[in-house]
Symmetry: C2
C-alpha cells in the first residue's frame, strides 16, 4: 500500500490482555506497535510504521480482535518470551481503542530467511518486476533453504492464528509475507474462514515464470488455502488468475474463481483501499504541519512546487522522475528559476545493496541537475531523505504538481493523500502502472513510467493547468481518493467473505 | 540465431558486379563479407561472422540475388563510396558461389544510434528481457533522437532494396535491426513482395509494454509492412501476436494473421532453422579440429567434460551455469577431480559496460570455484574467451555433457551443432527458454534457466546417463537438429510467402 508512512513517533501503552478466543484475527508481519529499549532500561511502546498498520488498526480495535505479528525488535522478542511463559497476550491501547496482540518470536535465522531473503529479495522483487533477470534470482540450494525458513515462519503464523481464533471465526492474513499461511491454517483449523490480502502488485505471468515450478505451485497453493484471495485492483487479480491458469488450475476468469487442488472454489476479489479524508485533514491541521508549510513557503519564495513523496525505493522511479524534471528545464528555459522540485524520499531498506546504490544514484542525479541549471538564489532540486510524516503532508498542501510515477505499485496512497490535503488545487501526475490509476484516472495526468519525455510534458501541463480545470480535476481526484476509506475497505472485504461463503 | 560464430578467418574475393534488377534481395545489418585494411595498405575481404550470414549465404548465391548490408569497417565505407560513384555493385565470391552486394554507407552518428542505441541497447535488451526496469530503459529526448536515427537507417535500407529489386521481386528483411524497413519499402515499391524475419525472441506482452505507445506502434506497424512476418518458433510468434492485440490490431490467433492499419492481412509464420549435418561434419573433420581434440583429450586426462560454448552474453546465463556446476561439486564430493567444466565464452560487445561487468563477474566466479574445489592436478573450471570455431567444434565432439541454459534465446544453434558433431554421445542440458527446446525436447534434459539446483541435477543425470539411453537421446537430438537445415529453411519460407500471397 505505502502511504507516507503514518506517524512513527506516537507512544502507545500496553498491559496484559486476556486469552479469550477471538471472532476476528488479523495476521501480518509487522504488528500495530513495536517496543524499543530507551535510556536507563526503560522500554517504550511505539505505533509501528507503514500504511498497513494505519489501515487495519482502527478496524481491529472496534472488533475486539487479536493481532498476530512477528516480534521485530529485541524488546519485542523479550516481551514475547514473557507472554509465552504466562500464557497471556499483550493488550495495547491505540488511539482507536484497545487491541490484543499475539507476538511471535521467530528464530533470527528463520526470520531473516522469511523476511529478507524470500519476502523482500524474492517476492517483493518478483511482483514489482525488479530483477535484472540475467543475474537474479538464483534458485540454488541456499535459496531453497531460505524458502524452507519462509515456510517455517508462515507455519508459526498459522499456528498463532489457529490458537487465537474462535470456532467459526475469521482470520485475515496480510500480504506476500504470509502467502503460505492460509493453507497451513486450513489444515489446523478447517472451521475458520479466512481471506488473504495482497497489498503489492502481482507479477505478469511471463515474469512470474522465473519462479521454479515447485515454488510457484507452493506459493499459489498456499494462497488458495484461503476462502477469498484479495487484491487491490483488477489488474493484479487478473495477473494472479493468469498465473493460476498457467499452472493448470481451473480458472473461471469472468467470475474470478479458481478451483484449488482439493476441488474448493476460491473467490478472487478486489478492494481498492483509499484514504479517510476527515482523518487526514485533521492530521494536516496539526501544528507541526503548519510550521512545515510556513518554512516551505519561505523556501519557495513564490516559485511553483513540483513534489514527490516516496520511500527511497527503486520501484518508485525517483531517477526517471528527476530525468523528467531535468528534460523540462532543458527544453523550456523560461521555467528555470520559477519552479522547485522537492524530492521527499525517505531512506528504506538501507541493508540491501541495490537500495543503497539506488539512493547514491539519486543523490548524484540531484547534484548533476543542480550543477547544470542552478544559479545563485535558486536550487532546482531539493532532496530530503529523513522520514517526517508532518512535513510530507505540509508539502502536499502547498504543492502545485505532485509526481507519482512508480514503475509498478500495488496502489500508492500518496496519490490519494495529496489531493485530499492540497490547498492549491494540485495537479496529480500519475503512473499508469500504479493501482491508484484505476481510481484516479478521471482527474490525474497519466504517464507511462518509462517515458521521461511524457513525464516532462505532464509536469508542464500540470504547472500550466488553468484554475477551473485544476479545480474540476481535483474534485474528481478527491472523489476517487475517498471512495473506499480503510474502515469501509475492511467492512467491504468482510461482507464479501460472508457472501462468498454463503454461495 | 547465434551458432558458434562461423569461420571469420576465411578470405573471400571481390570484383565489380552488374546492376541488373534482382528477383531476390536480402537485407541485413551485416553482409556476407567485410573488408579490413591489412598491412601496407592492402585490403582483405573476409567472410563476416555470425550465424545469420552462414544461414543465408549459400541460398542467395544459388538465386543470383543482391545482398543489401551496412558498411561496417572503414574499408567497407571506402568501397561503398567508390561503388556509389560508379553506380556498380560489389560481386563477392563466397565458397558457395558469387553474391552481389549493395553496401550502404551510413553517417557514423546515424549508424551508432541505429545499431547500438536502438538495435542493441533497446531492442536486443527488450526481446531478451534483460533490463533492470527500475533503471532502464529511459525513454527521454536523447533516446527519441536515437529512434529517429534508427528510422533513418531503416529508410536507407528500404531505399537500397527498392533500387535493387526487380518488378514483382522478393525482399527478405533480416531481424530486429530492420523492423521499420518493411513498411518503408512498401511505400516505395508496393509491387515487391516482402518477408521480415526475427531471429531473436519476442518480448512477452507485459514486458513489451516498457516501450512507449508511439514507439511500440511504430515498430509493429513497420514489421506489418511485410507480407509475411516470421519467427523461429511458435512461442515468439504468439508473443508478437499478443503484443499486436494489445495495441488494438485485429488478430486471428489460431490462423496467426494480423490485420494492419491499411486493412491488409499479414501472415505470421514460424521457421525453426536448424543446422546442415553434412556440412557441419565436414568442417568438424578438418585438421584444426583434430588438433584441438587431441589437445583437449590430453587436458582432460580421462576426466569427463561438461562444456558450454557461447558468446559472453548476459542472456546466455554463464553465471548460473557456473553456479550449477559448483552446486554439483558441493553436494556430491565424489565428483571432484573426475569432471572438468570447460567454458568457451568468447568476448562480445565489450564496448557495453553491462557486458564488461558480466565478463568480469564470470571470471571472478571461475576463480572462486577453482579456489574452493581445485587441487593439484585438477582445475575444476577452464575458461576461454577467445573465439575459435574449430576449437568449439572439437570440444563439442569430445564433451560428455553440453550445457545450453540461456535465460531467453531465439533459437540457439549450439544446442543443434553439439549433437551433430558429438563423438561421445553427449547429453544435452537445455533451457526451456531457448527456442531450440521446441525442436529438441525429445532428447534434451530440459532445465528452468533460473533454477540452479535443477541445473546441478540435470548435469548429474547427463553425466550418469546409461549408454543405451545416451544413444537413444542423441538420435532424437540429431533428428531435431537437422530437421530444417538453412537451405531448406529459406526454401520453406519462400514457398510459404508464395502460398500466402496467392490466398
Amino acid at each position: 500500500v505505502n502511504g507516507t508512512g503514518g506517524n512513527t513517533s506516537a507512544r502507545a501503552t500496553a498491559q496484559l490482555g486476556t486469552r479469550a478466543p477471538a471472532r476476528l484475527v488479523i495476521a501480518s508481519n509487522r504488528g500495530p506497535v513495536e517496543r524499543r529499549a530507551g535510556p536507563g532500561g526503560r522500554v517504550d511502546v511505539h505505533r509501528g510504521s507503514g500504511g498497513l498498520v494505519a489501515v487495519l488498526g482502527s478496524a481491529l480495535a472496534a472488533a475486539g480482535g487479536v493481532w498476530v505479528a512477528a516480534a521485530i525488535t529485541g524488546a519485542d522478542a523479550q516481551r514475547a518470551g514473557e507472554l509465552a511463559r504466562t500464557g497471556r497476550l499483550d493488550q495495547v491501547r491505540l488511539p482507536e481503542g484497545p487491541v490484543r496482540l499475539r507476538m511471535l518470536h521467530l528464530d533470527p535465522v528463520v526470520y531473516r530467511g522469511y523476511y529478507r531473503a524470500i519476502s523482500t529479495e524474492l517476492l517483493w522483487f518478483l511482483h514489482h518486476q525488479m530483477f535484472d533477470l540475467t543475474r537474479q534470482p538464483v534458485m540454488d540450494a541456499t535459496l531453497r533453504a531460505e524458502w524452507g525458513r519462509y515456510r517455517a515462519a508462515n507455519a508459526a503464523f498459522a499456528r498463532g492464528c489457529a490458537e487465537e481464533v474462535a470456532p467459526g471465526g475469521t482470520v485475515l492474513l496480510q500480504d506476500y509475507h504470509l502467502a503460505l499461511a492460509p493453507r497451513q491454517l486450513r489444515r489446523l483449523r478447517p472451521d475458520a474462514r479466512s481471506a488473504h490480502f495482497t497489498m503489492v502488485p502481482w507479477a505478469d505471468p511471463g515474469y512470474f515464470a522465473v519462479l521454479p515450478d515447485d515454488l510457484a505451485r507452493n506459493l499459489i497453493d498456499g494462497m488458495l488455502g484461503a476462502d477469498m484471495v484479495c487484491f487491490l485492483v483488477p489488474r493484479w487479480a487478473d495477473a494472479f488468475l493468469a498465473c493460476c491458469a498457467g499452472l493448470g488450475y481451473p480458472v473461471d476468469a469472468p467470475r474470478r474463481i479458481v478451483r484449488d487442488g482439493d476441488g474448493r472454489d476460491v473467490a478472487v476479489r478486489c478492494f481498492p483501499v483509499g484514504v479517510d479524508p476527515d482523518e487526514l485533514r485533521a492530521r494536516a491541521g496539526a501544528a507541526d504541519v503548519a510550521a512545515h508549510k510556513d518554512a516551505l513557503r519561505r523556501t519557495l519564495d513564490g516559485r511553483k512546487l513540483v513534489l514527490r513523496v516516496d520511500r527511497m525505493e527503486p520501484s518508485k522511479n525517483v531517477l526517471r522522475g528527476l530525468a523528467g524534471f531535468a528534460e523540462l528545464l532543458e527544453r523550456d528555459p523560461v521555467r528555470r528559476g520559477r519552479v522547485v522540485h522537492l524530492v521527499l524520499a525517505y531512506s528504506s531498506r538501507g541493508d540491501l545493496a541495490p537500495y543503497r546504490a539506488y539512493a547514491a544514484d539519486v543523490e548524484a542525479s540531484v547534484r548533476r541537475i543542480n550543477a547544470r541549471f542552478g544559479r545563485p538564489g535558486w536550487q532546482p532540486v531539493l532532496l530530503e531523505t529523513g522520514n517526517d510524516y508532518g512535513r510530507g503532508l505540509a508539502a502536499m498542501a502547498v504543492a502545485d504538481v505532485l509526481v507519482v510515477n512508480p514503475v509498478r505499485d500495488g496502489m500508492n496512497l500518496v496519490a490519494k493523500e495529496g489531493p485530499v490535503v492540497s490547498e492549491r488545487d494540485l495537479a496529480l501526475v500519475l503512473s499508469t502502472q500504479a493501482g491508484a490509476a484505476d481510481d484516479l484516472s478521471g482527474g490525474a495526468l497519466l504517464v507511462d513510467p518509462f517515458d521521461v519525455t511524457s513525464l516532462a510534458d505532464a509536469i508542464a501541463i500540470g504547472l500550466d493547468l488553468p484554475p477551473a480545470e485544476r479545480a474540476a480535476r481535483l474534485r474528481r481526484l478527491r472523489a476517487g481518493a475517498g471512495a473506499l476509506p480503510p474502515r469501509r475497505w475492511l467492512d467491504a472485504a468482510l461482507a464479501e467473505l460472508d457472501r462468498s461463503m454463503r454461495e
